[in-house]
């Protein structure tokens, strides 16, 4: 152990304690209160005194005072522990790094003050650099990762804990063996390597977790749309029954009229009008039985649900579906995603016109299956067909605009998917042709 006189040791300790609190305040802006700042200063001074007489006591006290900072702002305990771990680790790591550099630069015995100053300055520089880098990294990653998810927080916390324990263990062992300086360098290098491994491991783990969550959501969605489809099927059956009943009633009416029983017939008609709660004009126009016979739940689901969406938006919708369409299982997800985007785009585009129309056709023959999505646009709309595929361009402002580029990407992944996009006479048509494998 290198000798430091008591006063300078105490000053160093105080400054290091202050750094810990500074880091905590940077990481958690919510606890930057006047009272907390005073608490931090007082605690730093007190602990630096205590540390002189009871080596090592400072750290547990520091931890206790850290938890005292959360008197007003009360986040999760996992979060509090995570921030504590980050603060402690950053502090300890930058301290070691600063120390090693200052020892190498200056001779401790001849240039004591310079060495100390260098140590302190580097310590702060490294710690702040690491912290701000970490914050920047988290901000960038938060586009992809939900850092509020308790499980993700737990994963990060536990990996942070492993890192800190490892680092502390190394330092302690080298201190006990009295070879701290020699091992410090190895320690730092090892810690950096371990950090990289743990960081990557954690990222992979989180990525896996996110995928799993997505899969669960997808499954739920499928369940929902299946329910919806069931309901529609029932609806359709009911409508058919209604049609049937209607014909029977008309038949009985015609019999009455043939018997010249005009009065009775008139009453019967009145009754009928009163009875029929169902307005014929209100019956959904999705009564294309072939639509319900598409053999793939996902594809069928997306077509029906988007058609209903379009209908509800007041768009005139027609569907033409060849009977008994079968879709290969391995294509169904791609097709569903492509159709989803195409329908969304078509719905957006045609709504700008006075008489929005959306037409869909599914044509199937021996060699290929064709999905056609066609919509009209407002008269004289200018669509640059060569630009709609590039990212960020869309005829609608503030629209996400990545739709068709995404479609093209999905199509490119399949060697037997072919896309045809046409804009002519104020009509926009996209045809997806899927060649069948022989």
């Amino acid at each position: 152990m290198i000798y430091l006189n008591t006063t300078s040791y105490q000053i160093m300790d105080f400054i290091n304690n202050m750094l810990f609190f500074l880091l905590v305040f940077i990481i958690i802006p919510q606890i930057r209160l006047k009272s907390n700042v005073i608490l931090a200063i007082v605690a730093s001074i007190t602990f630096s005194f205590i540390d002189i007489y009871h080596d090592g006591m400072g750290i547990p006290l520091l931890i206790i005072s850290y938890f005292l900072l959360f008197r007003h702002y009360k986040p999760n305990w996992t979060n509090r522990i995570l921030w504590l771990l980050i603060g402690l680790f950053t502090n300890a790591f930058s301290q070691s790094l600063a120390w090693i550099i200052s020892v190498n630069l200056f001779n401790y015995h001849n240039q004591f003050i310079e060495s100390l100053a260098c140590n302190i300055i580097l310590n702060y520089v490294f710690a702040l650099f690491i912290t701000y880098m970490g914050i920047y990294l988290v901000r960038r990653l938060s586009q992809y990762i939900n850092f509020n998810d308790p499980i993700i927080i737990t994963i990060i916390t536990s990996s942070m804990l492993i890192l800190l324990v490892g680092f502390t263990a190394f330092t302690t062992i080298s201190r006990i063996l009295n070879v701290q300086l020699e091992y410090m360098r190895t320690n730092i290098v090892l810690t950096v390597i371990i950090f990289i491994f743990i960081f990557l491991g954690t990222l992979y783990y989180i990525a896996g977790y996110i995928k799993q969550q997505q899969a669960i959501r997808e499954l739920e969605k499928i369940k929902e749309s299946n329910l919806y489809i069931k309901e529609l099927e029932d609806n359709y059956d009911e409508m058919r029954k209604f049609k049937h009943d209607y014909k029977n009633l008309l038949l009985s009416l015609s019999v009455l009229l043939e018997n010249d029983d005009d009065k009775y017939a008139g009453e019967k008609v009145k009754d009928l009008l009163k009875d029929s709660s169902m307005d014929i004009n209100d019956v959904p126009k999705l009564n294309n039985p072939n639509l319900f016979k598409i053999q793939d739940e996902l594809v069928r689901g997306i077509i029906i649900s988007k058609m209903i969406t379009a209908k509800n938006l007041g768009i005139k919708v027609t569907t033409e579906v060849d009977p008994n369409i079968r879709i290969a299982r391995s294509y169904s997800v791609s097709i569903t995603r492509i159709l989803g985007i195409l329908f969304d785009n078509a719905i957006e585009a045609c709504r700008k016109g006075a008489e929005p129309t959306l037409n869909f056709a599914l044509i199937d023959d021996k060699y290929a299956t064709e999905f056609i999505v066609n919509n009209n646009t407002a008269p004289n709309t200018k669509v640059d067909i060569n630009k709609i595929f590039t990212n960020g361009f869309s005829t609608k402002e503030n629209h996400n605009g990545i739709g068709l580029a995404n479609v093209q990407e999905l199509v490119n992944k399949k060697p037997n998917f072919f896309l045809n996009t046409k804009f002519e006479n104020d009509e926009f048509t996209v045809i997806l042709t899927i060649e069948k494998e022989n």
Binding site: E320, V411, F418
Partner: protein, 249 residues
């Protein structure tokens, strides 16, 4: 000579159509045309399609639904299309029966005539369709436009070469992307064989063939080609001088 063939199960309507065609002939004595068959029986009509002996251009007027027959108008049209890609087909339909996109896709009809629009509108539509037919036949014979062909699935497609801006291949798949004035389409193929066939298509890049007739300008600095409609594509540095020479010719 243009042959007109009519299939419609309502006999009174057949007379109406015949009259319209007769009037058109009277109004346009310069056009050589005749009605070769007009029937309400789809089977008879089908036989005519299958066994007709002459090579004349055809104009078909076909009803979509026949009350007493399983055969539908679209079946007849598909039968026609098997042997005759240029035959002009006009469907007669009521609003509900029309599967617009499917028909367009499978048959490429010239027009649809709606029964509920009334005789006067029918008359106008047929006059317009016949005008268009003669105009197209004339174009086809006089200039023999250079057409680009490709096939996909069960269909053959033709595109007027003068509408093409450029073709490109993607390195990952064996697909060719065709960029024309109104559409972008893709199909299986390779640029080498296309380049050989069409002299006005120039290889501006390892993976791009451009139509020299549609180029508006060349940006040598950024190595870009701009087309008349505002679209653009890349040109490789190696090919730039050759392209300029071609354009100067």
């Amino acid at each position: 000579m243009l042959n007109v063939a009519i299939c419609e199960d309502n006999l009174e309507l057949i007379d109406v159509y015949r009259l319209i065609f007769k009037n058109y002939m009277k109004d346009h004595p310069e056009h050589d045309m005749r009605i070769v068959i007009s029937t309400g029986n789809p089977t008879e009509f089908e036989n005519y399609i299958k066994y007709r002996s002459d090579n004349n251009d055809m104009f078909y007027l076909i009803d979509i639904e026949f009350a007493d027959s399983q055969t539908k108008g679209i079946d007849l049209a598909e039968e026609i299309r098997k042997n005759d890609a240029t035959a002009k087909i006009v469907f007669i339909t009521t609003h509900e029966e029309l599967a617009y996109l499917t028909f367009k896709r499978k048959i490429e009809p010239l027009d649809y005539i709606r029964k509920e629009d009334g005789i006067k509108s029918m008359n106008e539509s047929l006059y317009k369709d016949l005008d268009l037919t003669f105009q197209r036949l004339h174009e086809l014979k006089s200039q023999r436009k250079k057409m680009f062909h490709y096939s996909l699935g069960s269909r053959d497609y033709t595109i007027d070469v003068s509408n093409i801006n450029y073709l490109e291949t993607s390195s990952s798949s064996h697909k060719v992307f065709l960029h024309s004035l109104t559409e972008i389409t893709e199909f299986r193929g390779n640029l080498n064989s296309i380049e050989e066939e069409f002299t006005n298509l120039y290889r501006a890049h390892k993976s791009i063939l451009v139509n020299l007739d549609n180029i508006h300008s060349i940006d040598s600095l950024n190595k870009m080609i701009y087309f008349n409609d505002g679209s653009s594509c890349e040109v490789s540095r190696r090919k730039l001088p050759g392209l300029k020479r071609k354009m100067a010719q």
